[in-house]
Symmetry: C2
Subunit: 319 residues, 2 copies
């Protein structure tokens, strides 16, 4: 069966300037600035469940997932549009007001202006399309296609927490009845790494970047495919979310769990010191070197205790 | 119960620069150009039914409705994004390829580039979010809020055909078994008035403009509300679609039927000759003078055979 990735690459062939294939499209704005723009569709019972959390969390997450795409280009988010489709019975409740409360709370944090949108009725499920545009100095957007062999591979923060939170939610835990609030919040209210993305682009420290939305394994293969390179990563180096429970398969969550919304980037080895140096500027800046880019095109070598295996990318797929 | 219009004006109050309320948001691009941008959400069984036509028509219409918003600003459409949510059983068919075929056929006609999008699974209904951006000379976008008392009111083309087509489709007619193909096509494959919109802005001929998506009565009241003016229109002047059937309520379809995607605009009386003069340039340019703007704020007087009544706006509302 065709996957959505196959389909997207087919559509891409029909696109005149082939702008499709990064976290955001990059479009010329003026002589000094590029516009980056992204759209994310969120569907009830596919991407979220209403019983998991208050509508404010959903408003937060709808914005956060798109902010993460803007962060992955190294850009500053500037304005947004939001289309919301709602069943009549939900429209009668305060869902939509609370949803926007959550959206605006996060938007204000980043100074993002809502410039437009659409409100529509749906037969029975909520759908949200979140559109965000950012700005970046001309030519400075960090793409997926520019990793070089011997570049170092870094991730921000810790991995696996969002997938663990999802599993706990699916097992019936909620923010009200949980001892694992941090994990649930990783899933329900992700923090997009907007500041770190901008610093990496301003200081020219990343050669390629993507956000971890699908999973480390499948997002790393996107960089490898676009850059026509390979990668090797080390199991022992992957930063595991310290809140993960003992009975969880740590590596599976960190490698194949989605929605951590951390940044995965590559850097020239000469910049390693500068990157680690950034960690002194804020306790929120956490960088871990997890591997290197190789010439072994589209292959990820996964090294664990001196054993090497080839990683099959796994993670969230719609089809 | 709250209407979507009330809700949108509440959201608008929270938007920093109040860009919401026109067919498109207008954003500065560079020193000479503004960017206009719009998003439209289309939901299966609310905005369209799959049994009504081949997927190519739906792809055409998804683009056409947003192009019409760009046309209503007087702008030139430039690029687009498209988010599509699809149930698994539809994904297995050739629906999505055919849908994009229809989309690209119309996009090529206007030289529009697809720059991004999202593909997602839905539980059981198709949803489409169509995003289009256009460009226009700085300060030249034609707003809803700038109609002046004594301006003349014009519409392009003929009205009521799309609503008649909808009724025929709902009564079980299809393109294969109909004697009213023109009416069905008005509903299934609307022609956005992109060229006329651009000419009106280039020649400074319109003081305000909106596209006829909801209905003549409710789109005219949008102009009146935004411009803080009123309007009087003449029943006998409204251009009725010549394909309408004898048993149809012509005026109801023309006044209250939506989705004709013609343009409704106001103009200074001194420009009347120039506007009618445009009709010599192409047989596709049809302008009808249907009334005047008044000082009678937010009131539409409807004059029929010397009788005047106040028009209650009717037309498509989601809630």
């Amino acid at each position: 069966m065709k996957s959505e990735f196959d389909f997207i690459s087919k559509i891409r062939g029909r696109s005149i300037l082939s702008k499709i294939g990064d976290d955001c499209a990059v479009l010329p704005k003026d002589s000094r600035t590029d516009l980056v723009i992204t759209t994310d569709l969120l569907v009830e019972d596919i991407d979220f469940r209403l019983e998991w959390a208050k509508p404010e969390f959903l408003g937060h997450k709808a914005l956060a997932v798109s902010l993460s795409d803007v962060a992955a280009m190294g850009a500053k988010p500037v304005w947004a549009m939001l289309s919301v489709g709602i069943p009549a019975q939900v429209w009668k409740t305060d869902f939509v007001e609370k949803f926007y409360d959550g959206w605006f709370a996060l938007a204000e944090k980043f100074g993002i202006e809502l410039v437009g949108g659409d409100v529509s009725k749906t037969p029975d499920k909520i759908v949200i399309d979140s559109i965000i545009a950012g700005e970046i100095k001309k030519g400075k957007a960090i793409l997926r296609s520019t990793a070089q062999p011997n570049d170092l591979i870094f991730v921000t923060g810790e991995l696996g927490g969002a997938a663990a939170g999802l599993q706990l939610l699916e097992n019936g835990e909620s923010l009200k009845n949980t001892q694992h609030k941090n994990l649930l919040l990783r899933q329900l209210a992700p923090d997009p790494q907007v500041e770190i993305g901008q610093i990496l682009s301003e200081k020219n420290l990343a050669t390629s970047m993507i956000d971890l939305s699908d999973s480390l394994s499948s997002d790393l293969i996107h960089i490898c495919q676009e850059s026509k390179v390979g990668a090797k990563i080390y199991a022992e180096k992957i930063p595991i979310d310290k809140n993960l429970l003992e009975n969880f398969d740590f590596l599976d969550f960190a490698l194949n769990g989605g929605e951590d919304f951390e940044l995965l980037f590559t850097a020239n080895p000469k910049n390693q010191k500068k990157i680690f140096g950034l960690q002194n500027e804020s306790e929120n800046y956490i960088f871990t070197h997890i591997g290197e880019i190789t010439k072994n095109a589209e292959t990820i070598e996964f090294i664990s205790k001196d054993e090497t295996r080839i990683l099959d990318p796994e993670g969230f797929r719609h089809f």
